[in-house]
């Protein structure tokens, strides 16, 4: 079954997300506290599969990093 976990440093896909985050303009980024709060919620969510949000098809760490994003789940978890 899929792992309910975020991508970790050292995994090949983590580099893809890290590159995306590095290229994201600072003004679009959410603050660190917000990102951590979002990711903590995602880690408890059944829609998290191997670092991917099955609701929106995004890498969770990529979606959570943007200021103007919101949880795509109909329950609006964040």
């Amino acid at each position: 079954m899929p792992c309910k976990c975020l991508l970790k440093d050292g995994e090949p896909l983590y580099d893809t997300v890290a590159a995306y985050l590095a290229a994201l303009p600072e003004e679009l980024k959410a603050d660190e506290k917000t990102v951590n709060m979002r990711l903590a919620i995602c880690e408890k969510c059944d829609c998290l599969w191997d670092g991917i949000c099955r609701k929106c098809g995004c890498y969770v760490q990529a979606r959570a990093a943007k200021k103007d994003q919101r949880c795509p789940h109909e329950d609006r978890n964040w």
Binding site: Y20, I52, Y59, C71, D75
Partner: protein
């Protein structure tokens, strides 16, 4: 610029199936896009999203292809029937390596088709499945009488057999469906298709795996071997672009439109070969995968093929429809890739939200051609910026669609209409900046609006066609 529509020159019927779609177990097309399960908070009927079903019904969707695509040749149908908690999960190795719990299977797909009022088009697994597996799937779905398969179907809640017309015997078997040579596939096709039986009350329309683009050698090899045992062969033609949909440069836009138009030449090349072996035109062509293929949206998962759809996509759709319509004597179906959230999708979803894309509106604008008879017509400058189709429906109403891909040039069209009066004219338009798109925050940036740029004049029409537009005229 001049054009002529000859309403006395009636050609073939434009099969409604030319406006079909394709739904693969890929990314969020099936799961989330079409199917959310009975327990979801998202409004659904038997697990199917009601918003998406209603949207697709608006398009009068005639046929839906499933389960793939590349997925079809590793799909084992028995994993997708019976109690859901007992269905084994599988890894979707083609598309992102994600787990598929098989909660959407044969019964669910056919339920979806019933809700949509469309024909199912099922692709069987020739690449990694057995002859017996394919044969028994057809028996499970379509046989009456008493057998292990019909008992199993009834045990799973379906008493009466379904009607299944369209059945593909493998998919892209020159590539993801087994990397076969054309000759090897043709022999495999003959073997598998032999056991795709017509049970009483059901007649299969068998589709052999055809080529992609200009792979004429595939057509040349398989047609003599399969022509007496199939109803159609398939063709896959994508409109590729090395950019994200919303970042297409003006130069890339020109390339996109050229690529969309060249598909007509590929089709003609394959039809020429088919005509040599099948002068009576018994075997049709089905373009069962077409559409734009951009780089994925930033932040979205590799292998999910999630892209936005822009005004450029509406134009690619219009050009493609015109190509298919013009060859409706030989093309019996076309299926855009794909229905929701994947490639050139009609709808995008996120949680409970859904947005209709410019591609959706292009489909909607063209519904007037479905089941109508193609008319002889001609436009100057065709294949450069202008593309069109004219048809007449059973009530005698003429329907014209015409598109202009130029980014800066508008055209004054003087259309001579032969054999039909043009007194009452009703026109609509899709037009926007080439990169305009609909998203969840602004869902109606690109849609269909009334258009006053068409005037009835003596003997015809005068049409002012703006840049970057698709227009329909009914008269």
């Amino acid at each position: 610029m001049r054009m002529t529509i000859d309403c006395t020159n009636r050609k073939s019927v434009i099969a409604p199936e030319l406006y079909g779609s394709f739904a693969e177990h890929l990314g969020r097309c099936i799961y989330e896009g079409l199917f959310v399960g009975e327990d979801s908070n998202i409004p659904n009927k038997n697990g199917m999203r009601t918003d998406v079903v209603e949207a697709l019904k608006e398009l009068k969707l005639p046929v839906l292809r499933w389960p793939g695509g590349c997925f079809a040749d590793e799909y084992h149908w028995r994993d997708g029937i019976g109690p859901k908690e007992k269905r084994p999960p599988m890894i979707n190795t083609h598309w992102g390596g994600v787990s598929d719990d098989n909660s959407f299977g044969t019964h669910e797909f056919l339920e979806l088709c019933e809700q949509l009022g469309c024909e199912p088009y099922i692709t069987g697994n020739l690449g990694s499945g057995t002859v017996e597996e394919m044969s028994k799937w057809i028996e499970y779905m379509t046989a009456e009488g008493d057998s292990e398969m019909t008992r199993l179907r009834k045990q799973n809640g379906r008493e009466a057999p379904w009607k299944i017309k369209y059945f593909g015997v493998g998919n892209e078997n020159w590539g993801c469906g087994g990397n076969m040579t054309a000759e090897f596939y043709a022999h495999q096709y003959r073997r598998y298709a032999t056991y795709c039986r017509n049970y009483p009350g059901n007649k299969l329309y068998k589709v052999a795996c055809g080529p992609y683009d200009d792979l004429y050698s595939w057509t040349e090899t398989i047609i003599p071997l399969v022509k007496d045992r199939c109803d159609a062969i398939s063709l896959h033609c994508y409109t590729w672009c090395k950019s994200r949909a919303r970042e297409v440069s003006a130069e890339q836009y020109d390339g996109l439109m050229k690529r969309a138009r060249i598909i007509g030449k590929f089709i003609d090349g394959h039809l020429d070969i088919m005509n040599r072996y099948d002068p009576e035109h018994k075997v049709k062509l089905i373009v069962d995968e077409w559409g734009t293929w951009y780089h994925k949206e930033l932040g979205s998962v590799d292998g999910f093929l999630y892209q936005q759809s822009t005004m450029a996509d509406a134009l690619v759709a219009a050009i493609s429809f015109d190509i298919f319509n013009a060859r409706c004597d030989r093309i019996s179906m076309a299926n855009i890739a794909q229905t929701a959230n994947v490639l050139q999708a009609a709808v995008l979803t996120e949680g409970e939200r859904m947005v209709k894309t410019p591609t959706f509106y292009a489909f909607k604008l063209y519904t007037g051609h479905m089941g109508s008879t193609l008319l002889g017509s001609f436009a100057e400058n065709e294949n450069e910026n202008i593309s069109h189709t004219a048809s007449v429906n059973e009530n005698g109403e003429v329907f014209l669609t015409i598109s202009n891909t130029s980014l800066d040039k508008s055209y004054e069209l003087d259309a001579t209409v032969v054999g039909h009066e043009t007194k009452a004219v009703n026109a609509e338009i899709i037009t926007a900046d080439r990169l305009a798109y609909n998203d969840f925050e602004k869902p109606e940036q690109v849609n269909i609006k009334p258009f006053d740029g068409v005037k009835a004049v003596h003997g015809g029409l005068r049409i002012t066609l703006p840049p970057c537009s698709v227009v329909s005229v009914k008269f």
